[in-house]
Symmetry: C2
Subunit: 386 residues, 2 copies
């Protein structure tokens, strides 16, 4: 397996853009990523394209990548469409990493794009709920059948661990505060207080609107290169992928996220204490706290202590989701995994401006998607270093 | 890059099975493939799952592989969903090959599954037409908007090369004759004559019903192993993957199929004259003749000569589509690429019974999908040897 570097990143603003399409969003992110890497379309040998719900939202069920890429002049190369629910973006990155690490290709693009806004809100909710087994019953009257699928677990977790609604609110406040310093973020506020979060609309008890990731349109793109290509291109400031792992959920421990993290730490030869900055999949505020434990950042049952002690604040010992995370940056589902890595590469390059984590050297991204049989459908963990 | 072998294959019967589901079809093919390889579910380290139109046909837009695989006991491993229109099956195989060749995994499963039958024929036609750019207009009243997308090109090709409707009919007759000897085939007849084909319903002139691949349900699965795993398992009769290439179409020659073939021949270190048996993507009868040229089996413009001279008949010098091909075995779109390789592995192992190609040693599979900007959206070529 060869060393693989990220040499360029591109990201659209995330938000509700009714007139944007899969094509316009992907084109913007890809163009920025190529410019950032200082490479041209013909330099790219293979593309891994992630999208989750474009079939139901836009009607483009097949060849979603090809219709975007051929329009941009990509011609005669390998194009593969990938889907892994909300973990699709990181799965595309994983395959791109594999394609370069294997020796098969030297310069590869991974991108994720999602168009979620749609005139009919029920179509959006129905599309998102296909990250569950559609043969199993869901509460079709729920505001969000997918958040419903989280809520019962969250209630059990809170009862078991003493995690409070205030803890969840503090996660939401951190996300909004970080989002306010990220020009690509959908939301951001430096003013939010616990009471504001606890008074926002209930989505699926105990999860309130400000504790849930929003509906978003957006795209992220990453250019990957081998060591050989890097030397040929003379690229500056590469960021290295030290581990790339995709795992489905598991009935037996370690469960999905913890399993992916365990295998990624082993591949990278590091442990949680080596991390300087983390982007994790805060699909809701409780997800973030539960993931502190799954990723080994806190002992089991003690995730809330990181919130209470401010450890994961931007100024804390281990900043988590400096981008604002899914809650504030937004969550265009197939794009999120790429957006997380865009943020971490920006941090590792020291280009994160007001939200820069000082001396960030080792970073971890965790991107999860879907639920099947009581655990996550797919989880991807990447470890990056400069 | 390490050597990679196919050590097990599984295939359902192809046909119209209204009560079958993605789950039942995939389960049958996967179970057979694991049995054939003499491995168990926990031996499999990663799965690449192909499906094309399940989102629109069944509603399961996301995590299509996970809902199948978790039900079969696959737990905590890497699962990736792949889509490349009708080339999805071979694309899943390509990624599985990459995963083993890279050194990342030793035992990997690739499968393709498609459920195409649906109570509403317009839903089927609409789903298939998403292998085109849905932003571009199609003739919604056409019997098959997708076959319409072939027809104009076929008319031009016939005018340029002197290929006749009789030639197309002969391809259809060969397919039916081979299909009659394949127990998994959807159709088969030893009795068909040119006139029968030319009197079948017109779908998109000059393509008639017997010249077009049918609507099919089905699944195919392949177990891949590294040399190390092979020695550990003591598996018999491995078939080696000598080349695995996926290419999108191209505005400049060589176009998609020819480009994929050129790169696959180079990777395998062989040429067309080394082939003993071929499975190619006869989505319609003219596609087969045009592919003879793109794959270098006949000079440009002379594809029809192979039909007229009987070269590609089962008893000919280079049998093509001994399985019956898409026309007779059937074409459950995301499954076809796997089914082609199942047939070739069966041939190379000498287990093809009445349709066995004598002494088959070197085989090629070509699987194409979709149309974008006047060329194929994606084409995959694999070269196999025993």
């Amino acid at each position: 397996m060869r060393d693989v570097a990220v040499i360029g990143t591109g990201l659209t603003a995330f938000g509700k853009f009714p007139s944007a399409t899969l094509k316009t969003l992907a084109a913007e992110a890809i163009t920025h990523a190529l410019e950032d890497a200082d490479v041209a379309v013909p330099d790219v040998q293979a593309v891994f394209a992630a999208n989750a719900i474009g079939g139901l939202i836009t009607g483009q069920e097949m060849v979603r990548g090809q219709v975007v890429l051929r329009g941009l002049g990509f011609d005669g190369i390998s194009i593969v469409n990938v889907e892994n629910a909300c973990a699709g973006g990181a799965t595309a990155l994983h395959l791109a990493w594999l394609a370069v690490a294997s020796g098969q290709y030297d310069l590869v693009l991974a991108y994720g794009v999602e168009k979620m806004t749609h005139p009919d809100k029920r179509t959006i909710a129905k599309a998102i709920a296909t990250a569950l087994d559609v043969d199993e019953p869901v509460n079709a009257d729920a505001k969000s059948p997918f958040m419903e699928s989280y809520a019962e677990r969250v209630r059990g977790y809170m009862a078991d661990t003493g995690t409070t609604e205030d803890d969840l609110a503090r996660v939401a406040i951190k996300a909004q505060r970080n989002g306010a310093q990220n020009p690509h973020a959908q939301y951001g506020s430096k003013e939010l207080e616990v009471q504001d979060v606890l008074e926002s609309t209930m989505v699926a008890a105990p999860l309130r609107l400000l504790m849930c990731s929003p509906i978003s349109d957006g795209a992220g793109a990453l250019v990957l290169a081998s060591h050989d290509a890097l030397q040929r291109l003379g690229s500056l400031v590469p960021v290295w992928i030290k581990a790339s792992v995709v795992r489905s959920g598991s009935q037996a421990p370690p469960h999905g996220i913890a399993r992916a993290a365990r295998d990624a730490y082993a591949m990278a030869g590091i442990g949680p204490s080596d991390l300087d900055v983390v982007e994790l999949h805060d699909a809701n505020a409780a997800s973030e706290i539960m993931r502190y434990e799954a990723l080994g950042l806190a002992p089991e049952g003690a995730g809330h202590s990181l919130v209470r002690d401010g450890v994961t604040e931007l100024a804390g010992a281990l900043p988590v989701n400096p981008s604002g995370g899914l809650l504030a940056r937004g969550h265009p589902v197939g794009a999120t995994g790429c957006a997380q890595v865009v943020e971490l590469v920006t941090q590792l390059r020291g280009r994160a401006a007001d939200r820069q984590v000082p001396d960030a050297t080792v970073a971890l991204a965790e991107n999860g998607g879907g639920h099947v049989k009581g655990d996550i459908a797919s989880d991807a963990v990447h470890v990056l270093t400069r």
